[in-house]
């Protein structure tokens, strides 16, 4: 398995110049594409994710490794039949209407993507209608993530949930919320399915919600 170990190192170092060659050399050795993906590319990301959650590494170390991982995974995609494809599910994310804080949301999105989720990022200052429309237009969306950093915009999350209910879409999706002024009682009060205070636990939460 030393080819896989080599690939792990390359991903860990975020070495995107060499990742494709390393993936190719695994395939040339006859390793199954699925194993190259899981053991070669995803496994080091899982380990780095854990290290980041523990405060042992800096976030760019994880993000640059993820970039290399995605580049390698793109090569493997055509070789893996879709039912084997381990996409964790699709989510749509936004910062709510009136709010211009997007760094926390971006970070959650990046970590979800590294964990294998497909995420459509609507951006910031996003109206309830725009969220409803995004969900309506895409059957495969299972999770909605909303971020609010202001006491004055957090109620827009409630309005978005109400709009989804009115559009008859509430039961189709799980809703997770976060941001500086948001806390558990508030999340419960507005009828969200989950809340978390940071990006690594947001990934755990998304995995839990998808499994439900």
């Amino acid at each position: 398995m030393s080819k896989i170990t080599d690939l792990n190192k390359i991903v860990e170092n975020g070495d995107f110049e060499n990742v494709e060659a390393a993936v190719q050399s695994c395939l040339d050795d006859g390793i199954e594409p699925m194993d190259v993906l899981n053991e070669g590319l995803v496994e080091p990301i899982n380990q780095l994710g854990e290290k980041f959650a523990n405060g042992d590494i800096f976030v760019p170390e994880l993000l640059i490794a993820s970039r290399a991982m995605k580049q390698g995974a793109a090569m493997l995609k055509p070789l893996i039949v879709s039912e084997d494809n381990p996409s964790m599910g699709k989510a749509v994310f936004c910062t709510v209407e009136g709010d211009m804080h997007d760094i926390g949301k971006n970070l959650v999105v990046m970590l979800l993507e590294s964990a294998g989720f497909e995420v459509e990022d609507l951006g910031m200052d996003i109206s309830p209608e725009a969220v409803v429309e995004a969900v309506q237009n895409d059957e495969s969306i299972k999770i909605i993530g909303m971020s609010a950093m202001l006491t004055t915009t957090m109620y827009a999350m409630q309005e978005t949930i109400e709009a989804l209910t009115e559009a008859g879409l509430r039961d189709r999706v799980k809703i997770m919320v976060g941001g500086a002024p948001v806390h558990e009682d508030f999340a419960n009060m507005i009828g969200a399915d989950g809340f978390s205070t940071n990006a690594p636990t947001a990934v755990d939460l998304a995995e839990k919600l998808i499994a439900q």
């Binding site: 405060g55 800096f58 211009m100 760094i103 202001l150 006491t151 004055t152 957090m154 109620y155 500086a180």
Partner: protein, 486 residues
């Protein structure tokens, strides 16, 4: 009329990290960014002004030529005077005068009795304003927290709470043009008319773009409102190195400057000569916890260099940092970081030093840290005074009369000057036994007791009935409008 504002840094060589040439190098990098990278400006009116002034505008991207920036720098005044609620001139924001005030809008307040935190409420705002009013070394107020009770009109209500409980000048935050207009109208109520409110400003608006190089509608719209009405405003980019700015300090400063200067250009185009406070907050993002670190060593250097540029190169009043921390409680970590920030700001002669009492990366406010920092700032002010070289202070007469082997304890000269020595309030300088027998308290405990005492007993000067009525009417109208919208 010449007023005496005693808060100047008296030092021949204030703290400086960069030479004039180096300052100009950062400035010219920022000009290159403005001209060649461009700025995203989400405001049609501003884009139109920029286009007319000779900028290239492509969709919402504006490319500002250097000569327009140099023009704007020459228009803005180098001094802003702030007046207290009673109309007395109390702050001269210029030169190396260093003023200290709180920060704004924290979602939470630190709770001494539980060691936890709770959502910031209206009562907290009232208590906080009283504490600021009672603290001799807190020169201006920012609102400390955003009140959960008023999701739409929090800015108006926090301003009203400050007005009702303090006579000091204030820096306000506002959601949009409508809320800054409501606030300006409250100021007019205090002054008995808008003209007088403009002549004797009580407040500065705190305004900010979105780094990197993105100027959203509300921030530009508030900026233009202030320019049009000659109300002082800042435009403070919050560049987080590694997140919303380059990871390296001088690069982050170049970007921060480009963002500030775009604001200045729009502001001066809207009304040449309107008062503008220069400076932002460059801080490194802690890339493990992902929060802006505020008082890190790198941030502290950044704040100093921004002051150098603002004062030495631009001759503008400056905006700075005065006492924030990443700590979660008012402990040694908190006081160490907050003190370093305040010390450097004073030593470099930064004018408007805000965020005193900010903890937890600006998410949790602490009254205890505020009260401790009042003590620290008092102590620092004694440092900033420097050395008095008058004949009386040179003391040659008394040195001659006491001579070798004598002592000074019963000299009139000693008696005449002894109260110039700085006296602590919260530091305990009593001898060991007295300290021990009085409960062996820590500084934090004494600060907490002081906070409780002020909240229970301090009586701020009330508004007149007429002022109170006018303020309440504006609040009621704003609340009614907010309800209608819902």
């Amino acid at each position: 009329m010449k007023h005496d504002f005693p808060l100047k840094l008296n030092a021949v060589q204030p703290l400086r990290f960069l030479s004039d040439d180096q300052l100009r190098e950062i400035h010219s990098c920022s000009l290159e960014i403005l001209q060649n990278v461009g700025s995203e400006v989400q405001h049609e009116g501003a884009l139109e002004m920029l286009r007319k002034a000779g900028c290239k505008v492509v969709k919402k991207r504006a490319y500002v030529p250097a000569n327009l920036v140099e023009w704007a720098l020459k228009q803005a005044p180098s001094t802003v005077i702030l007046y207290d609620r009673d109309g007395n001139p109390v702050m001269d924001i210029s030169g190396r005068n260093a003023y200290f005030g709180t920060g704004s809008d924290c979602p939470y307040l630190y709770d001494w009795d539980t060691g936890g935190q709770h959502e910031f409420t209206t009562q907290d705002m009232i208590n906080g304003a009283k504490i600021c009013d009672a603290m001799p070394n807190i020169d201006f107020l920012m609102c400390l927290g955003l009140m959960y009770e008023y999701p739409v009109t929090s800015y108006e209500h926090q301003f009203a709470a400050m007005l009702r409980n303090s006579t000091k000048p204030m820096v306000v935050t506002a959601a949009n043009r409508e809320s800054i207009k409501n606030i300006a109208e409250m100021m007019a109520v205090i002054r008995g008319g808008m003209d007088e409110a403009i002549n004797k400003p009580l407040i500065i608006l705190y305004d900010e773009p979105i780094s990197p190089l993105n100027h959203y509608y509300e921030s530009i719209d508030k900026l233009i409102y202030c320019a049009e009405n000659s109300l002082p405003t800042n435009y403070a980019p919050a560049v987080m190195m590694g997140g919303t700015g380059p990871m390296t300090l001088s690069g982050a400063l170049c970007q921060c400057l480009a963002e500030s200067l775009l604001g200045l250009v729009v502001h001066q185009l809207a009304n040449p000569g309107a008062p503008f406070i220069f400076g932002g907050c460059v801080t490194d993002m802690d890339l493990k916890c992902m929060q802006p670190s505020y008082a890190s060593p790198t941030s502290n250097v950044a704040y100093v260099v921004e002051q150098e540029i603002g004062r030495e190169l631009y001759h503008l009043p400056t905006w700075g940092m005065g006492g924030a921390t990443s700590s979660k409680c008012p402990d040694a970590h908190a006081l160490s970081e907050a003190t370093q920030e305040a010390y450097l700001s004073g030593l470099t002669g930064s004018n408007m030093n805000h965020d005193v009492g900010f903890m937890n990366f600006g998410r949790t406010y602490s009254f205890e840290l505020l009260v401790m920092m009042n003590e620290v700032i008092g102590q620092l002010r004694q440092v900033f005074k420097g050395v008095d070289m008058s004949p009386e202070q040179l003391a040659m007469d008394v040195i001659k009369s006491v001579g070798p082997m004598g002592n000074y304890l019963s000299e009139t000269h000693t008696f005449n000057h002894m109260k110039e020595m700085w006296q602590p309030d919260l530091y305990d300088r009593r001898d060991y036994d007295k300290w021990h027998d009085n409960g062996a308290t820590t500084m934090e405990e004494r600060a907490a007791a002081k906070v409780k005492d002020i909240i229970a007993n301090y009586q701020p000067k009330p508004l007149t009935d007429e002022q109170e009525k006018g303020i309440q009417a504006i609040l009621d109208a704003a609340d009614a409008k907010a309800k209608e919208k819902k």
